[in-house]
Structures are given as C-alpha cells and as structure tokens.
C-alpha cells in the first residue's frame, strides 16, 4: 500500500508538469533566451512556497507521517562538482529541453524517442560512477 502513495504523487507530478508546460522543449528554450517570464515564474513561486513550507515545518508545526521532523538532507560541501556538473547538465537540459523528471513524463505523453534519451542518461550516470574517483569534487 505504501507504493500506492508514491504512484499517486508521481501521477500528480506528471499532470502538473504537463499542464504547467514545464515539459515543453520550447518553454525551456524561451527561458534560456530570456523571452518569457513563464518558467521563471514557475521556478520562483515553487521556491518561495517551498521556503515557506520548510520554515513552518522547521518550527515544528508540520511533522512527517511517522511523526519525525521534516528535513531536507544537507548537500555535501564542494564547488567544482556543482559548477562543472551543473554546466554539463545545463548543456543537456537546453538541448533535450527536459530534465530527468520531464524525460519520463514526456514518454508518457507519447514522445517515444525519449526512450533513447533516458537510456543515454542511464549510461551517462554509469560513466560518472566509473570515473567518479578521478574527477575533482
């Protein structure tokens, strides 16, 4: 039964991202060309709402389903990995017009070519795992 809640969250997420047009290749292009406020509005209001939620839950007003404190895991310290990894991801994001969530959602909308992108992304992740220890972080 626990799986059902995650399935429902996923369905909800997929619907939101299609209806918001955040899965649109064109919206991503438009964002990176600074020709529309749309994507900035989505990301901006998501962050503001998220900050408000986390501030309220930090004060203990909202607890997780098991009664424990709600917390977002701390990212490790670092610079190179975030900036270089971020740039590499950014190249892919603007080319494919989709980040890891939308890749799957678009597959659901009937963009079958996304299977190739997803397979390549899995290989890309695998390559990172192979060379991880040789990279600066």
């Amino acid at each position: 039964m626990k799986a059902l809640r995650f399935l429902l969250v996923g369905i909800f997420f997929g619907i939101i991202l299609v209806k918001s047009e955040a899965v649109s290749w064109y919206r991503i292009y438009e964002m990176f060309r600074f020709q529309s406020f749309h994507m900035y509005g989505i990301i901006g209001t998501a962050i503001i709402t998220g900050i408000v939620f986390l501030q309220i839950s930090n004060k203990g007003y909202i607890k997780s389903i098991t009664g424990s404190k709600i917390h977002v895991p701390k990212k490790e310290h670092g610079l190179v990995r975030y900036i270089v990894g971020g740039i590499i991801f950014g190249f892919g994001w603007a080319l494919i017009g989709a980040c890891p969530g939308p890749m799957y959602i678009l597959l659901g909308t009937g963009v079958w070519s996304m299977i190739i992108v997803i397979a390549a992304a899995i290989v890309g992740t695998f390559i990172y795992g192979l060379v991880k220890n040789k990279l600066p972080h």
Binding site: H38, S64, A94, P100, L106, I116, G124
Partner: protein, 187 residues
C-alpha cells in the same frame, strides 16, 4: 461547470506552488524530491555495482523512487489524453520567429519539436546523435552535480543550501551557452 481552466495550460502562479506541494508530500512521506536519483537506482539494479562502488547500494530501499517515475509517466499520459485541449503553447512571438528561422515548423504546437523527436527523424544519424549526447550530458551532469532541477533548484534552494545555489548557477551557465550559442550552430 466550465472546465476550460483545467483543459487550458495552467498559469505559472498555480503551477509553481503545486510543484512545491509535490516536494512537501514527498518530505511528509519521509523521502526527498529529486528526480535524477532514479537513474542511479536503475544502474544499481542492473548490476553496475560490479564496476563501481558508487552503485553498491541497497536499491530495494529506493524502489519508491521508481514508483514515482512510473506514476509520472502515467500522469503525462492522463494529462494529454484527458486534461488538455489543442490550445498549444503560448510562446513569445519573437521565440516563434527565431525557431522558424532555425528550421523548426510550428513551434509550440506540440510539447517537443518534431525535428528532434519525430520517430521518422530517427533514421538520421545526426538526430540520433543529438538525443544520445543530450541524454549522456543530462545523466553524467546530474550525478556529478548530485542533483537536477528538482533536487537542487526546488529542494536545495527551498532549504537555502549554498551548494544548490552553485549548482543552479551552473545549470544556467550551461543552458544559456547551449540555447544562445550552440543550438543556432546545430540547427
């Protein structure tokens, strides 16, 4: 009741808070909002742990992650089949003009350009190469940066983490260079 407001694209000020709600739900269920982790989980399931310790994790603990992915595929299907009309994406006319000049037909009429994702274009080695390279960049980059748009831009910035701010600046440097300088060379 007039349901056009559901069938039409949703405005950003509705969508943004709803995305934050997805993050809140996952945190409430004791998990985190980060969509790129599933790529790593699939590597672990396929036995990548034999080649790199990075993938030596108990992937059974991460199956919830793949369940979210499965749901998102179903959600995409439901959204286009039952919750959409043929209104298309209301792009900036400048954007449409630019893309038409680059050779894209009917920008915004569908979610992705047929020139890149149309099945009939998979015969073209250059199109196939672009999809593969794009996927490799996304998969390698997210893992190197330890997160993607959901993990860093939404979860990380909402929790005011500096590494996520650095990563998001990286996302934008890469995206800006690709969209402004490389895409015009490619298309």
């Amino acid at each position: 009741m007039d349901l056009q407001f559901i069938l039409n694209p949703w405005p950003w000020y509705v969508s943004g808070p709803l995305i934050a709600f997805v993050m809140a739900l996952l945190l409430y269920f004791g998990k985190t909002f980060g969509m790129s982790s599933n790529l790593s989980t699939m590597c672990s399931m396929a036995g990548a742990g034999k080649f790199s310790d990075f993938f030596n994790v108990n992937w059974k603990d991460k199956l919830w992650n793949l369940t979210v992915v499965l749901g998102s595929i179903i959600g995409g299907f439901i959204a286009v089949q039952f919750l959409s009309n043929d209104s298309g994406t209301n792009l900036n006319p400048t954007t449409i003009g630019e893309l038409e000049k680059m050779g894209f037909n009917n920008p915004g009429k569908s979610l992705v350009p047929n020139e890149l994702f149309g099945l009939e274009n998979l015969n073209s080695p250059s199109t196939l190469l672009l999809l593969v390279v794009g996927g490799l960049l996304v998969g390698f980059g997210t893992r190197y940066a330890a997160g993607c748009t959901s993990g860093h831009a939404i979860s990380g910035l909402s929790s005011l983490q500096k590494p996520s701010l650095i990563a998001v600046i990286g996302f934008f440097i890469g995206g800006l260079v690709m969209a402004n300088f490389l895409l015009p060379l490619i298309f």
